[in-house]
């Protein structure tokens, strides 16, 4: 483990707060309503993905319990992330674990669907 995750640049967005807590925790809070969040967030997720592989981390935990609302484009970015992971060689793969709030309906529906699409690389845990 060489600490690449800790050096990932955070996205500078008005409505969302992101924190990276090494060795393997990421916390996201706020809302994502940008028309095109990919410009900032896809870059951030990709950097997290690459850093996690480089650090040899076997499970990356993303806490979204305080992420109260996201738009469709943001959901697509989570789906894209699972696809990158599925396309990673098995030896380098890690488990992407989302910590969710059972009180937020969007999280229940969204991450249940992602589990169907990427059950071999994804885990979901209720807070």
């Amino acid at each position: 483990m060489n600490g690449k995750l800790a050096g990932v640049p955070l996205p500078k967005l008005e409505t969302i707060h992101v924190r990276v807590d090494p060795p393997n925790q990421v916390r996201m809070s706020g809302t994502i309503t940008l028309r095109d969040p990919a410009k900032d967030l896809a870059v951030f997720y990709r950097a997290l993905h690459d850093a996690t592989i480089q650090d040899g981390i076997k499970e990356l935990c993303v806490d979204v319990t305080a992420l109260t609302f996201v738009n469709s484009s943001a959901i697509r970015l989570f789906a894209d992330w699972t696809t990158w992971l599925k396309n990673t060689p098995p030896a380098q793969r890690y488990t992407l674990k989302f910590r969710t709030s059972p009180k937020l309906t969007w999280q229940k529906a969204c991450f249940s669907a992602l589990l169907v699409i990427a059950k071999d690389v994804l885990a979901v845990e209720d807070a």
Binding site: F69, N71, S72, S73, I75, R76, T83, T105, A109
Partner: protein, 229 residues
């Protein structure tokens, strides 16, 4: 009953995104007066110390209901009356989506239990985003929040080309038949594709647990999402 167009049926005194009342649309053009934007006024209303965030009381306005009820017994009854609580008019290309969504979300949070408010919040965002994305610049996009016991509804109307309206109707029928499977299919399809995710209606139906209705009248498409309050 043939519903009036959103512009002509606007209840008197209804606030619009530009701060005008719909009464002014029937009279001569008003001179343009510089002032705070709609978003600034919404934010100011929510941030003024000592001022309640609860929206001001408005007299209920009786309006026509959707003329099509594809959901059998669970659909909004034909011929019933909708009590419109909020009606906001904006335009394609406006940056008002966030502010309008913020206003409707606050209103819903004040008025309904958490699960219902969350559904309304989702529907308001997704339907309005669709309306703003697909409407032409010159035409208003109108969002309404209303009630028809026991339903609460979010309704967005905008102009649309026929092909778009047909695709919309087909998608609504698919979502009505199986919201969960259609949602999953849409999520799969969205992966890795550029541009808009096009998940909005599927989210409203599946995540929000809302029923959908779409109809086209005089070149305007009206999408209604509703659920029990």
């Amino acid at each position: 009953m043939v519903p009036k167009s959103p512009r002509s049926s606007a209840p008197p005194g209804t606030r619009t995104a530009g701060g005008r009342t719909t009464q002014s649309s029937a009279g001569p053009p008003q001179p343009s007066v510089p002032g705070p934007t709609f978003g600034q006024r919404v934010r100011a209303a929510f941030k003024t110390p000592g001022k309640s965030s609860r929206p001001p009381h408005r007299e209920p306005v009786r309006r026509p209901v959707p003329t099509r009820a594809p959901h059998g017994e669970q659909a909004i009854a034909l011929g019933g009356q909708v009590n419109v609580l909020v009606r906001i008019s904006t335009r394609a290309g406006d940056e008002s989506l966030t502010y309008v969504h913020e206003f409707v979300s606050h209103y819903a949070t004040e008025r309904y239990r958490a699960a219902v408010a969350e559904s309304i919040r989702l529907a308001a965002f997704e339907l309005l985003e669709n309306g703003i994305a697909y409407a032409s610049i010159s035409s208003p996009v109108v969002i309404e929040l209303g009630e028809q016991d026991p339903w609460v509804l979010v309704r967005v109307s905008n102009d649309a080309i026929e092909a778009r309206a047909s695709r919309l109707t087909a998608l609504v029928e698919k979502l009505t038949a199986d919201p969960q499977a259609t949602y999953l299919e849409q999520v799969r399809r969205s992966v890795g594709t550029p541009g808009r995710a096009l998940l909005g209606l599927a989210r409203v139906a599946h995540e929000g647990g809302m029923k959908l209705d779409a109809k086209t009248t005089d070149g305007r498409v009206v999408v209604t999402a509703y659920r029990r309050s």
